[in-house]
């Protein structure tokens, strides 16, 4: 409700000259993203900054892989699983990809049912999303355990370039942390949906603003972003 209390400045009014005008321009009630709530705009801007973080991680991985004179371990073999009496390349990663995409699908539908004020379906779909996210983290923990038991460390591994371990643990670890945080927030928002906080307009614990179903969409933006990052990690780290 801050917008109403701030009041509206006449945008065509002349600004004071010099530094005061500069400050007035940057502090006054101006909006670039019309029709977009501050919450959604801020989530997008946060995701943009996160894009740069993951971009830098993948860039450092590219640099390490391109500049090393030692052969890079073949991810297709490293991440193979012995199933049904044969080695299937990359199968665990493929399953993880499908799990995360499915969680994105259920999240998109949760947002949709939220805007239709269908409390029960929204909460169930969000809990399903959280469950799929937790499954993903669990499979990642399994993958880490397997690699660590095979002797992969951030400073060495049995198959080739030492940087393989450090980039693997850093990139997938950071992504897994994002998924874990996402699961926690999904559970919090799902609980609010279930209780009907967004219909009665109960105030939130942090900003004490009145909640509404857009919170589900903003939560969804974060969750889809986690899936989006995995698309790039899957392509560049596991498939390349």
């Amino acid at each position: 409700m801050a917008e109403t209390s701030l009041g509206h400045v006449d945008h065509t009014a002349p600004r004071p000259p010099g530094l005061r005008g500069f400050v007035a321009d940057w502090s006054s009630d101006q909006r670039a993203f019309k029709g977009v709530s501050w919450g959604k705009a801020m989530m997008w801007i946060f995701l943009l900054s996160d894009t740069f973080i993951f971009g830098c991680f993948l860039l450092s991985y590219m640099t390490a892989r391109m500049s090393t004179v030692v052969p890079w371990p073949n991810p297709s073999e490293v991440f193979a699983l012995h199933l049904f009496g044969q080695d299937i390349p990359l199968i665990l990663i493929a399953i993880m990809t499908f799990v995360l995409i499915s969680s994105s699908g259920t999240m998109a539908m949760a947002v949709n049912f939220g805007y239709r004020q269908d409390r029960k379906k929204t909460a169930i779909l969000m809990l399903l999303t959280a469950a799929l996210g937790a499954t993903f983290v669990g499979m990642q923990a399994f993958e880490w355990t397997k690699l660590i038991s095979e002797g992969v460390r951030p400073w060495e591994n049995p198959w080739g370039a030492a940087q393989f371990g450090s980039t693997f643990f850093m990139i997938t670890g950071f992504h897994g942390t994002h998924v874990t945080i996402g699961v926690i927030f999904l559970l919090i928002v799902a609980r609010k949906v279930w209780r009907g906080d967004y219909e009665t307009g109960a105030r939130g614990f942090f900003t004490s603003r009145r909640g509404q179903y857009e919170s589900v969409e903003i939560m969804g933006l974060y969750w889809h972003f986690v899936d989006l990052v995995w698309v790039f990690i899957f392509a560049f780290f596991y498939l390349w």
């Binding site: 029709g35 590219m62 390490a64």
Partner: protein
């Protein structure tokens, strides 16, 4: 929130109150759309996995990986994240900056080639 937005629109005359009301309802799309996109994401993921499974190599492998990756990313951002229905001001503000990373990529490609040459020259074949 919605009231404030409606007032904001009303004051500046950018949108009629009816449209502001429609925004308060949020994004409304048929569930079928999400299921179709979900299906496509599954197909594209299966395709990228097939690239590895059939052990395609060289330029074909890399171009297929990049094509499937960009298609998946595009579908997620456009439909799941609703970017296709947002105003252009927001879409450009979010999508254009990451493209600058490509400049960074170019710089680091030059840098890593240089590092590799120095390593070969200094330490022999490795």
């Amino acid at each position: 929130m919605a009231q404030a937005e409606a007032q904001d629109h009303g004051l500046h005359g950018h949108a009629a109150p009816v449209q502001a009301g429609a925004h308060a309802q949020g994004q409304q799309h048929p569930i079928k759309l999400y299921l179709v996109v979900w299906g496509w994401l599954f197909i594209l993921s299966a395709c990228s996995y097939a690239v590895d499974y059939f052990a395609l190599q060289g330029l074909l492998r890399w171009s297929l990986i990049l094509i499937f990756m960009m298609l998946k990313a595009g579908l997620i951002v456009a439909v799941f994240m609703h970017m296709a229905w947002e105003r252009l001001a927001l879409a450009y503000a979010i999508i254009v900056p990451p493209l600058v990373i490509l400049v960074f990529v170019a710089i680091m490609v030059i840098e890593s080639r240089y590092t590799e040459i120095t390593r070969v020259l200094s330490f022999g074949a490795g």
